[in-house]
């Protein structure tokens, strides 16, 4: 078993992509699969900052939302093609990450969570009020990816299967990027900062700058998730920017296994499936998810995948 897991971890990007390629066949309906893709990426971006660097941000919805809104606005108000709009969404989210990160990193430890939540709420209220661009309370509507012909193939984004695989292409690229970063020298610095900031500084690493760079990368990835979500839903609900969504990223990460490569996706899958099942049977899904989360915090903090890894790594 351990050998198999080690092999999977060595080729982690390929493993995830292989799984995601067949994923739609396992899911009862495509919309859930696409949702898991998008939120999985959201959780992956968040995990870079939380699981790997040790910074608990409660404001990451800001980056998802900025990615969604800027992509949507670029297409609806500026008429830009969706590829360009996507890029704009990602870059805007990264910029937001730079601003919020710069302010938030001035705080330490536990205050960081409070501050990121509150700073993200600035974005929420700002977008709420900017009705002319964002649609305010009603959200942004009318995001449409036109059907196109690429290399002789008819490409209809509205077809769920096509949509899934197009989004998967971007998610795969992002996952590859994250994997490279984690395996890079900078990835080692991130780990060191998470383990012991004082020690990392004594070794000569600029801890604040390192954190800021991770923050921006994390924001960019969440921005991509947001941009893809906008394309998927064709609308951007105002709630995309609310801290409750930030909290969902936190929950997904912990449920799946923070600081692991596969954890966030597993967590997103678990969370969204649980939500899907719970809402079928009851209106009290929020309490159920909240209770499950508390159970994990108390008894399974390593999450599903993290606990599994611990179990197989246990020395005989």
């Amino acid at each position: 078993m351990k050998g198999l897991v080690d092999a999977i971890r060595r080729h982690r990007v390929a493993a995830v992509i292989a799984f995601l390629l067949v994923f739609p066949l396992l899911m009862p309906y495509q919309a859930l699969a696409i949702n898991i893709l998008v939120f999985g990426l959201f959780a992956v971006g968040f995990n870079l900052l939380f699981g790997y660097t040790g910074l608990l941000s409660f404001g990451h919805a800001a980056f998802l939302g900025v990615g969604s809104y800027l992509t949507g606005i670029a297409m609806v108000s500026m008429g830009l093609p969706w590829g360009v709009a996507l890029l704009l969404g990602v870059v805007s989210a990264a910029l937001a990450g730079l601003l919020i990160g710069y302010l938030a990193i001035r705080t330490r430890g536990i205050y960081f969570s409070m501050v990121t939540l509150a700073l993200a709420q600035i974005v929420y209220y700002a977008f709420y009020k900017a009705e002319r661009w964002t649609g305010g309370e009603n959200g942004l509507r009318g995001i449409q990816v036109p059907a196109a012909e690429i290399f002789g193939f008819q490409f209809d984004f509205l077809d769920p299967t096509t949509k899934y695989y197009v989004i998967l292409a971007f998610v795969a690229a992002a996952l590859w990027f994250v994997s490279r970063v984690l395996a890079s020298p900078f990835g080692a610095v991130i780990e060191a900062v998470r383990e012991n900031e004082k020690r990392a500084a004594a070794c000569g690493y600029d801890v604040a700058r390192t954190k800021l760079l991770v923050f921006v990368l994390s924001a960019a990835i969440c921005g991509l998730a947001g941009a893809l979500r906008a394309l998927h839903l064709s609308v951007v609900p105002i709630d995309s920017l609310h801290y409750l969504l930030s909290g969902q990223a936190v929950m997904m990460c912990l449920l799946g296994g923070m600081g692991t490569f596969f954890g966030p996706f597993i967590g997103a899958g678990l969370f969204l499936t649980l939500e899907d099942v719970a809402t079928t049977y009851t209106t009290h899904w929020m309490a159920i998810v909240g209770a499950v989360f508390m159970v994990f915090v108390l008894f399974f903090p390593a999450g599903v995948w993290g606990s599994f890894l611990k179990r197989i790594e246990r020395k005989p």
């Binding site: 608990l56 302010l103 938030a104 001035r106 705080t107 330490r108 430890g109 536990i110 205050y111 969570s113 409070m114 501050v115 939540l117 509150a118 700073l119 709420q121 600035i122 209220y125 700002a126 009020k129 801290y243 409750l244 909290g247 936190v250 929950m251 912990l254 209106t283 009290h284 929020m286 309490a287 998810v289 909240g290 209770a291 989360f293 508390m294 915090v297 108390l298 903090p301």
Partner: protein, 293 residues
């Protein structure tokens, strides 16, 4: 609407009334943080529960004062159970875990109130004894809001007395979860944790029942309140009770004055205030340098 000096003055008093609620919330949050190093992400939810429980008792007994006394007791009891069984197991673990747990708890509390009282919430109104307005010289001002300010002052004063004049208070002020001082004084540290968490949540519940007549009471009402209490805490300085009070009043005034001159920017203004404080003095007005930034 013409902006006269008396209008500004009235708006200022409105801001203080709003600030009173913020101050109470921040005091509860700071208390829990100072002693337990726990950021209570369920603080807004406890506020909301307080509002509902308060209205429930009001409906049951018809007596506002009754509900005012009972509600913090009930909410504090919930806080007690929370600390004892949910938060305490996490103290050794790492600074984020109690925070995460209280976040999950907030979801459960919100849903619980939805189930008990319905998703629409409850209608709230000013208790009969406190209806009407008072002539302040600068204009007429709702009696209830004056009461709010007075009630907050009383609670803060009582808390101050507790902290300054009692043994328990001494330990809380020492502000450490490790509690060598407890051993010296022969007090069971676990009981102190319990008490502090219960008091902190009770104060949140109290601010809820006090605030109920001034706003819509629904299960979601605590959600923005959490963010707002964080703003107050950052501005005032985490773990500082005078900071919580001063910052609470300041934030309330900033909100209400912005409502007068640029109503669209009111919610935004307090968060911008926080951002400015973060740039200029990250530890907050009363915070200790090195605690933040």
């Amino acid at each position: 609407m013409e902006i006269t000096p008396s209008l500004i003055a009235l708006q200022l008093v409105t801001g203080i009334a709003l600030g009173a609620v913020y101050a109470l919330l921040a005091v509860g949050l700071s208390l829990i943080f100072g002693m337990l190093t726990v950021v209570n992400f369920a603080h807004g939810a406890f506020f909301m529960v307080g509002a509902f429980v308060g209205l429930y008792f009001l409906g049951l007994t018809g007596n506002f004062w009754f509900s005012l006394v009972l509600t913090p007791l009930v909410v504090g009891a919930i806080g007690l159970v929370t600390e004892r069984f949910l938060v305490r197991p996490l103290y050794g673990r790492g600074i984020d875990y109690p925070l995460l747990l209280t976040f999950g708890l907030s979801w459960v509390l919100i849903e619980a109130m939805r189930t008990l009282f319905g998703i629409e919430g409850l209608p709230s109104s000013t208790p009969a004894e406190l209806r009407g307005s008072v002539d302040l010289g600068i204009g007429f001002f709702p009696k209830y809001r004056l009461f709010l300010i007075a009630a907050t002052a009383v609670v803060v004063a009582a808390l101050w007395l507790f902290l300054e004049k009692t043994r328990y208070g001494l330990i809380v002020r020492a502000g450490s979860r490790d509690g060598e001082i407890c051993q010296v004084l022969g007090i069971d540290i676990a009981r102190v944790w319990l008490t502090v968490f219960a008091i902190g949540t009770a104060i949140a519940g109290l601010s809820g029942v006090l605030a109920a007549p001034t706003r819509a009471v629904n299960p979601e009402m605590g959600i923005p309140v959490l963010a707002e209490s964080f703003v107050v805490t950052v501005v005032g300085g985490m773990g500082s009770l005078p900071g919580a009070v001063v910052a609470g009043l300041l934030v309330g005034v900033v909100f209400s004055m912005t409502s007068l001159f640029a109503p669209d920017l009111a919610e935004l203004s307090i968060f911008v205030l926080m951002a400015v404080v973060l740039l200029v003095r990250p530890q907050g007005f009363f915070g200790k340098a090195g605690l933040m930034g």
